[in-house]
């Protein structure tokens, strides 16, 4: 114990740790009937940590070439001790991370936490969700199986609809005109280098903003929050978050053991596309919407119009902190509250309808 005290003293002497200790000791989390919403951000981060850990383990064996990718994943799940578990946890954790990020985003949205002065937190969170989806899209191709190959072909083909830059973007993503080994190698690069780097920077900013500004309390809950004793961040909230993380870990272990992530068959670029290609579930609502659109609408290509609408919708969602002027009596605008529910109903509705086979 004395050694630890000595080490602390030595560090404190050099780095002046007192302000940090002071900050941590006084950091609190408001307590009200919707305090549960504060756990989703941390849970998302937990899944991210799992992703990093399992991703590093997978890197030890994975080979990013069209010739060896599928076989290397096959090797991981059949020969490497606990390889099946690591790969399955990586895949499941990716999905749970996106799910948790969506829950975090909507809870923040409905509590109106995006409003001034927290615009930067909202924007960095929005970008982080985009990066997470980028992780999902790029990681999906890496096992180089039939489904991921053709889903990537369909997915990358969408960028070719972008006016003016479409052809260039397609070539940039694919590393050529078709999905080939070159695409796999660059997706690998995005997945393990570019996206992690951007995520690290943005996440650091996102966390720093939260620490600087503290937790937001919606105006309707302010009174309750004032009345009740806040939760001390260290150690109470951390321990509570620990319970949530353990719950996430239990879910991951159960899913990985009972529903191991399928590997499928090796991609064959010369084979015809299998029927019923679908992207990952978090792209389904967009995928099914684009499929529903007619070939041409108002003289414009339906798919282009759909992508334009998604881009515009995304922009509105991004700019909500600026667009929502709030109500005179305090609180967020009613129109944006309704918009939130509509967007949530649309995403959840289309995703479930797609799984139920409504769009077949």
């Amino acid at each position: 114990m004395r050694a630890l005290d000595k080490l602390w003293h030595a560090l404190d002497e050099r780095l002046e740790l007192d302000p940090i200790v002071e900050f941590v000791a006084h950091k609190v989390v408001p307590r009200h009937r919707h305090s549960w919403a504060y756990y989703f951000g941390g849970l998302t981060m937990f899944f991210l940590f799992v992703q990093i850990a399992t991703g590093i383990l997978l890197l030890l064996y994975y080979r990013p070439t069209a010739e060896a990718a599928f076989e290397s994943v096959q090797f991981i799940v059949t020969r490497v001790p606990f390889g099946w578990l690591v790969r399955s946890v990586h895949s499941w954790s990716a999905n749970l991370m996106i799910l948790s990020a969506f829950a975090h985003m909507f809870s923040v949205y409905f509590m109106g936490s995006y409003a001034k002065p927290r615009e930067l937190t909202w924007w960095s969170g929005f970008a982080l969700l985009g990066l997470a989806m980028g992780f999902g899209f790029s990681g999906y191709l890496l096992p180089w199986n039939t489904l991921s190959y053709f889903a990537t072909q369909v997915g990358t083909d969408m960028v070719s609809k972008v006016p003016f830059a479409g052809a260039w973007l397609l070539k940039f993503l694919r590393g050529g005109s078709e999905v080939t080994g070159a695409t796999l190698t660059r997706f690998f690069g995005f997945h393990v280098a570019v996206l992690p780097m951007l995520t690290a920077v943005l996440l650091a900013g996102h966390l720093a903003f939260i620490q600087r500004q503290g937790m937001h309390v919606p105006s309707s809950l302010e009174e309750e929050a004032k009345r009740r004793k806040p939760i001390r961040f260290v150690p109470n909230f951390m321990l509570r978050e620990g319970v949530v993380w353990l719950l996430g870990l239990a879910a991951l272990a159960a899913l990985a053991a009972f529903f191991p992530w399928e590997l499928g068959t090796k991609a064959d670029p010369f084979a015809s596309a299998p029927a019923g290609i679908k992207p990952e579930w978090y792209f389904l609502f967009m995928f099914e919407t684009l499929k529903l659109l007619p070939a041409h609408l108002f003289g414009i290509e339906g798919e282009l119009l759909g992508l334009g609408a998604f881009a515009a919708g995304g922009l509105v969602w991004f700019l909500v902190p600026v667009l929502d002027r709030g109500r005179p009596g305090g609180g967020r605008g009613r129109a944006f509250f309704v918009l939130g529910w509509l967007v949530l109903a649309y995403i959840v509705g289309f995703t479930f309808a797609s799984f139920a086979g409504v769009f077949k």
Partner: protein, 422 residues
């Protein structure tokens, strides 16, 4: 590099010069500068006379420079129809069925002539045709039998390799059926007229249309194309053996070969039938009702005993393979990768197929030798499935233990928080 390029250019120029200087082949029909046949016939209102002109552009002969006059004679350069279609100049409007094979054969039987256009096609069609049932009936004066144009078309003739040709593998069956499914016409020649309908129930037809396997046998594969005739009793085995080489080889080693010949039974056909050839089943073997051996053998004789042993060996291999496939499938659905077991099951199936080939020897030991191989491979796949099942149990136990550890940790943390916040 530059010198090589210069030499290559010089060689090309010399070759082009030589071709330009070469005289046209003496007997080759040269496309007429003016072809009044096509010009006039294209304008005719009578469809029967206009159609040949419309079909001309797709005709292999026309594309090779052989115009209407190549077959019909006459003078294509003349505008006056009476001059262009002057019978004294060899013009023939409509050929009699008897004249068609001779007319087509005048070029197609000429090896030297055909060499200029299609050196890889045979030139014995006419001589084969004369030996065919069609040719023999035609020689006797029948006019309702197939001649060249009945199958290949008269105008707009395409090469058989063209998918639009009536004799292309996927279309030839229906081409034969135009006459051979006509019961009234066929009854005149003592043919049932149900042969094509029967063939369409066969594995051969299924391979042709479902798998698009162009090498699958069609009518002409067994009966011959130009020399079309039913194979005789003694030649059936040779016809089937063209493709089923291993089966024929084994049949020739079997006591059935001489026995079938003595009984004047068509070898393969006796068990497999002729047109409606189905997928062989293990259940065919035996002397009971609807089992093929029962046609000659009866319960208790040596053949029936051998059939029972063969049937038993096959059934054992099939049952073992089915069970192993089910077990492997089950662990696959539980998420296990079973590629190695799949290979073993494939080996087992290959050995089973070899056993079904060995049936043609009717030697029980030879069949059993293969079914033993199949059983060994199946047992190995089954062992893999058992190992995978054990692995699943291990994983689930591990999960159960880890969930307990996680639950204990959660409860401890929750209690700690509660005690702190009390």
């Amino acid at each position: 590099m530059t010198r090589q390029l210069a030499n290559a250019t010089l060689a090309i120029l010399l070759a082009a010069g030589a071709r330009a200087a070469a005289p046209p082949a003496a007997a080759a029909p040269v496309r007429a500068v003016k072809d009044a046949c096509l010009t006039c016939h294209a304008k005719l209102s009578d469809e029967r006379l206009r159609k040949p002109a419309e079909l001309a552009s797709a005709d292999i002969h026309q594309t090779q420079g052989i115009s209407c006059a190549g077959c019909h004679g006459g003078n294509p350069a003349a505008d006056d129809p009476t001059v262009a279609m002057d019978p004294r100049k060899g013009f023939v409007g409509k050929f009699t069925p008897q004249a068609i094979p001779e007319m087509c054969g005048s070029c197609h039987s000429n090896a030297a002539y055909m060499l200029r256009y299609a050196p890889n096609i045979p030139t014995d069609q006419l001589s084969q045709y004369r030996t065919s049932k069609h040719g023999l009936a035609l020689a006797k004066g029948a006019t309702d039998v197939a001649v060249c144009s009945s199958c290949h078309g008269a105008h707009g003739v395409r090469p058989p390799s063209d998918a639009r040709s009536p004799v292309y593998p996927t279309r030839i069956v229906d081409t034969c059926a135009r006459c051979h499914a006509d019961v009234a016409l066929m009854s005149r020649y003592g043919i049932k007229g149900n042969e094509v309908a029967e063939y369409k129930k066969s594995v051969h037809y299924a391979a042709l249309v479902e798998k698009n396997d162009l090498s699958a046998p069609t009518c002409k594969s067994c009966h011959g194309a130009h020399g079309a005739t039913p194979p005789g009793v003694s030649s059936v085995a040779n016809v089937c053996g063209t493709c089923h080489v291993s089966q024929l080889e084994r049949f020739d080693q079997s006591p059935h070969k001489d026995a079938f010949a003595a009984l004047e039974q068509p070898a393969c056909e006796a068990c497999h039938s002729n047109h409606a050839i189905g997928h062989p089943q293990d259940s065919w073997i035996g002397v009971a009702d609807k089992q093929v051996c029962g046609a000659c053998h009866s319960a208790g004789d040596a053949g029936a005993v051998a059939a029972g042993a063969i049937s038993g060996a096959l059934a054992k291999a099939t049952a073992a393979e089915t069970a192993a496939r089910a077990r492997v499938g089950k662990v696959k659905r539980a998420g296990m990768l079973m590629d190695a077991a799949d290979v073993k099951l494939e080996d087992a199936h290959q050995a089973y197929i070899m056993a079904t080939v060995e049936i043609h020897t009717v030697a029980v030991a030879r069949v059993e030798k293969q079914t033993e191989v199949a059983l060994a491979a199946t047992a190995a796949a089954d062992k893999d499935a058992a190992a995978a099942e054990a692995e699943i149990r291990y994983r689930r136990t591990g999960l159960f233990v880890s969930l307990i550890v996680i639950a204990v940790a959660m409860v401890t943390l929750a209690l700690k928080v509660r005690s702190m916040e009390r």
